[in-house]
Symmetry: C2
């Protein structure tokens, strides 16, 4: 994870370079780093926590179009207007630079630029895969698939009660945020979770906690 961040591909001299123009910023849950349509010039990377990219229509419908985890790049280069709102999902920390400074820095450090290219290409594939989910998968498939994703993410490292036993972890998202991410409503997400609970596939020991009791069944639902 660390090795994918902007800072990591640099030796000490360059790190100094970077820190001279960068600034650390703490975000509380719900804080916005940039507002869609604004001309925020902040670019950088996530250090800790998780952010979401949020797109919205003129009349207020919203959709989460990306989630950013530590080491992910955040912000827009070569552009003057921010296309999506960037909001903290949970307590987070970011390291930001002025767009111009970072663009100059990238020109001087091609390894940094290569790093960013790889990240962008990977993000593009992830985003496209998510498009398939959003349009062609059912609510049940979406929710099951999401739980499997979250169980595996290093950011929400799940704990097994026993080796091979059920896996328990905390969701970093509220029901509303899950709905926004999956292109559903709060009610539908909630109903799908209770369906899985009743089927014995998962347990919900707390409002944010999930236990995967039957991973094979969950995979079957995810399709």
């Amino acid at each position: 994870m660390r090795d994918r961040s902007l800072c990591s591909s640099l030796d000490d001299d360059r790190l100094t370079d970077l820190h001279r123009i960068g600034r650390r910023q703490r975000l509380a849950p719900g804080d916005t780093l940039a507002l869609a349509g604004s001309d925020s010039s902040a670019c950088g990377n996530v250090i800790s926590g998780a952010l979401q990219l949020c797109a919205s229509t003129a009349d207020g419908r919203e959709q989460t179009v990306g989630t950013l985890y530590p080491a992910d790049f955040v912000g827009w280069l070569y552009a003057s207007e921010t296309p999506f709102t960037v909001r903290a999902i949970c307590e987070s920390e970011v390291c930001t630079f002025h767009r111009g400074s970072l663009e100059q820095l990238l020109e001087r450090h091609i390894d940094l630029e290569r790093q960013l290219l790889r990240q962008a290409l990977a993000a593009l594939d992830d985003t496209r895969a998510q498009m398939l989910t959003l349009t062609r998968r059912s609510a049940a498939e979406k929710v099951a698939g999401f739980l499997l994703d979250m169980a595996v993410r290093p950011e929400t490292r799940g704990q097994r009660a026993a080796p091979g036993g059920p896996l328990t972890f905390d969701l970093p998202l509220s029901r509303g945020q899950m709905a926004e991410l999956l292109g559903l409503t709060i009610e539908t997400v909630s109903r799908q979770l209770t369906r899985l609970k009743i089927a014995g596939t998962i347990a919900l020991p707390g409002v944010r906690a999930v236990t995967i009791r039957d991973e094979a069944a969950l995979r079957a639902v995810a399709g």
Copy 2:
């Protein structure tokens, strides 16, 4: 457009370099350049025509997750498996390289790499914007928005009967391809088009031809 292609940022020496390892390929409509899950090493850019990136679920549901026009990059770097099927929408031409050769070339020519980074970042924003459309817009909004997009695209340059008069152009996509792109079914696309026709907003002089008779009304429907 031309100035965004891989070849364009090169001087003559470098172009020679590029052509030594590249190969031109013609594609008929429906031809696949790469199959999802295969390990095609072809990377390059579109020269003419249009390609689509197609994602599909295990049970055969499909979604177009991107459209590639001349100068767009096609293929996957730093990856061994092709995540999406690449298919020609119409008669097209591409210029491809082996992944490895292109990666080496990018290391030697940083301006090429920068070009690619810009394209990737732009494609990422486009893809994310499309996610909003796919989940939160109605069928009517999707179809109206799509027509407005196509009317403006240089690839399908529309013709006005008179200055300020109605704009006519040919769709490069069949109804089925439009449905796949917009996350709808053929029937829904067809119904939305006839709804717009009956309202007098558009005319459909041929099966592929569209005339925008009331652009303001079309924009209002697109939201």
